[in-house]
């Protein structure tokens, strides 16, 4: 789960990390008022839950009232990677000497929180990683020990010679670590953290992602959730026990199991088809789940063929077939459906399905090819 820059910086500020003075604005008038109060130059920044706003023209330095209004008018309402800009941040203009990157995230290999920092801040860390990997300092944090003062200081000494900056950075590292644990964050990032002209560290930008599995114990964070249209659909699906992601193609899917679902999509793509969605219906042969899943797939108007790929495990294939039939009877599906069933009692299941108007096949390959063929009509 993502939050906006201004929300991340509000959290930083609450923990005592110095951030730019700034105001969230929803209209050009608000932007102009805030800019007049802040003084010039200042910065108008699009608040959208996606990256790349800089390249999209969503961040503008303004030097006077006219520029402020102009920037606000152009940025508010702008589309950035499918996200409409509904609010902007008016932030003070800051003179700085250099830009630092600092990020805390979860590292799968060390199975710990890891701190990444680099003197080459201001650009995306992935770019630094590709072009100059040695410029990135990575330190896994022992979960028992946490971000001890000595450790924070040790890392900071690798960034700065000036002890004044070392102390400020060490303090920020410790606070970011505490934020990470306190909020169940999966990413706590300051990029750039700048050294101002009077030698103070200041967070110019802020980014936080959160572990969705932990939202149940983070009510304050959950309140900040602003799902977009697709995410709303995903959440709705989740509430019905379905794992759904909208994609751009025309062949709808229903599979039991996330891995099998990915493999199924991959195969469609391999044979030249385009998946319309990822959809894992999980275990059980519950007809209601199938109905919910079909409704979800069909809510996407681009879908002109559906492939159902089910593996009978503990739930037997014949029971699954019966569940499918019972569900499909209650729906009026106009697009062709290919069903492939394998695993426990697959044969018995296929026998049952053969009596219907579903296209029944035995292998994944066959199913993929058939679905593509049907979608082309």
């Amino acid at each position: 789960m993502k939050i906006h820059e201004y929300q991340a910086k509000e959290i930083f500020s609450r923990y005592g990390i110095p951030v730019t003075r700034e105001t969230v604005c929803y209209t050009p008038d608000e932007v102009v008022a805030a800019a007049e109060k802040s003084g010039y130059p200042c910065v108008v920044k699009a608040q959208v839950l996606t990256g790349g706003r800089g390249k999209a023209g969503g961040v503008k330095l303004v030097k006077n009232k006219e520029e402020a209004r102009e920037a606000a008018t152009s940025i508010l309402g702008m589309d950035i990677k499918g996200y409409t800009v509904e609010k902007v941040l008016l932030a003070e203009g800051v003179k700085f000497q250099s830009e630092i990157y600092v990020g805390l995230t979860i590292d799968r290999n060390s199975k710990s929180v890891i701190l990444m920092t680099s003197r080459e801040g201001g650009v995306e860390i992935e770019e630094v990683a590709k072009e100059n990997p040695d410029a990135i300092i990575k330190v896994p944090i022992d979960a028992d020990l946490g971000m001890q003062p000595f450790l924070a200081r040790k890392i900071a000494f690798r960034l700065f010679d000036d002890f004044n900056l070392v102390k400020q950075a060490a303090d920020i590292f410790q606070k970011m670590y505490k934020i990470c644990l306190d909020t169940d964050a999966s990413l706590v990032e300051i990029n750039p953290l700048v050294i101002t002209d009077d030698n103070q560290l200041l967070a110019l930008d802020g980014k936080m992602n959160f572990d969705e599995n932990a939202l149940y114990r983070q009510p304050e964070i959950e309140k900040l959730y602003e799902p977009d249209e697709n995410e709303l659909k995903e959440i709705e699906a989740k509430e019905k026990g379905l794992s759904y992601i909208k994609l751009d193609g025309n062949i709808g899917f229903m599979v039991n199991g996330a891995g099998l679902a990915m493999a199924t999509m991959d195969m469609i793509k391999m044979y030249g088809g385009e998946p319309a969605n990822f959809l894992d219906v999980g275990g059980s042969s519950n007809p209601q789940k199938v109905i919910d899943a079909m409704n979800l797939i069909l809510s996407d108007e681009k879908v002109n063929a559906i492939m159902i790929n089910i593996f009978g495990g503990i739930t037997r294939g014949d029971d699954i077939a019966k569940g499918l039939i019972s569900a499909l009877e209650q729906l009026d599906v106009k697009v062709p459906i290919v069903v492939r069933l394998s695993g426990t009692n697959a044969k018995e299941g296929l026998e049952i399905l053969r009596g219907t108007n579903l296209t029944v096949v035995e292998s994944m390959t066959e199913a993929a090819k058939k679905a593509i063929e049907l979608s082309a009509h």
Binding site: I106, R108, N109, K111, S112, V113, E124, E126, D142, A143, D144, C180, L181, D184, S186, D211, E212, N213, A214, Y216, R217, S243, I245, L247, V255, N256, G257, A258, G259, L260, A261, M262, A263, M265, D266, M267, I268, K269, M270, P275, F278, D280, F311, G312, G313, I314, S342, G343, T344, S363, M364, T365
Partner: protein
Amino acid sequence: MSILVNKNTRLIVQGITGRDGGFHTAKMKAYGTNVVGGVSPGKGGQTVEGLPVFNTVEEAVKQTGANTSILFVPAPFAADGILEASEAGIELVIAITEGIPTLDMVRIMPYLKKKGTKLIGPNCPGLITPDEALVGILPGNIFKKGNVGLISRSGTLTYEMVNQLTTNGIGQSTCVGIGGDPVAGLYFQDLLEMYQNDPETDAVVLIGEIGGDAEEQAAAFIKNKMTKPVVAFIAGQSAPPGKRMGHAGAIISSGSGTAEEKIAAFEAAGVPVARKPEDIPVLIKRALQYG
């Protein structure tokens, strides 16, 4: 031999009085697994499927000599349950539970390491040594005793693969579902090493997916340390970046963790990668012949 679970496994079920716990306890018992008891705080003294229920893992271990535990404990309490098993001296813990907060797993890892506890999962289907012990939620009937080891980040896709192996006459030594979470217990490299040292395993099937770089590390390990043949499959070639494909760990972040990178790593290590699941039996047969 096989790895991790076998006839010497003495299994307890944490959360045995829950719906899933009870259901799979019956399945595991029916398969022949030596299930010796269950744990459910406050339900001590009851019986489930004829097995004694204890209030604490410590008590269960003392009374039954359990060495392995499987958890069907709700996500908010699962990490605590894993710690309890570890503290009580359980050697191998299998966490089926999905949805455990990642930082809960991060917090308990140093303790498991200190105690030498092996963990499979969380968010995994468990593991099976055919004809000896089924410890998980896998459908026992599709497995067949044999000489191919299997490791997978997936559930149903694993069953799909195993089913194809079995129907093609290829049996399995042990099949392990390591789970779909970003922070998990034993992983590819740990298990590859176990298979390499297991006299009953002659070849290994590795089923990876997008997210992280465990496959790349596995490829390096295979290249440098393994003499037994390995064949691989990677799910998620068509997945868009930034989206979690069902599993919490299956996500391409900022261009890393893609299927392409993983496939390239395996191919560079001389590991054949199946283009589709149906190719696995062919590749394994070839590997066993020439490997």
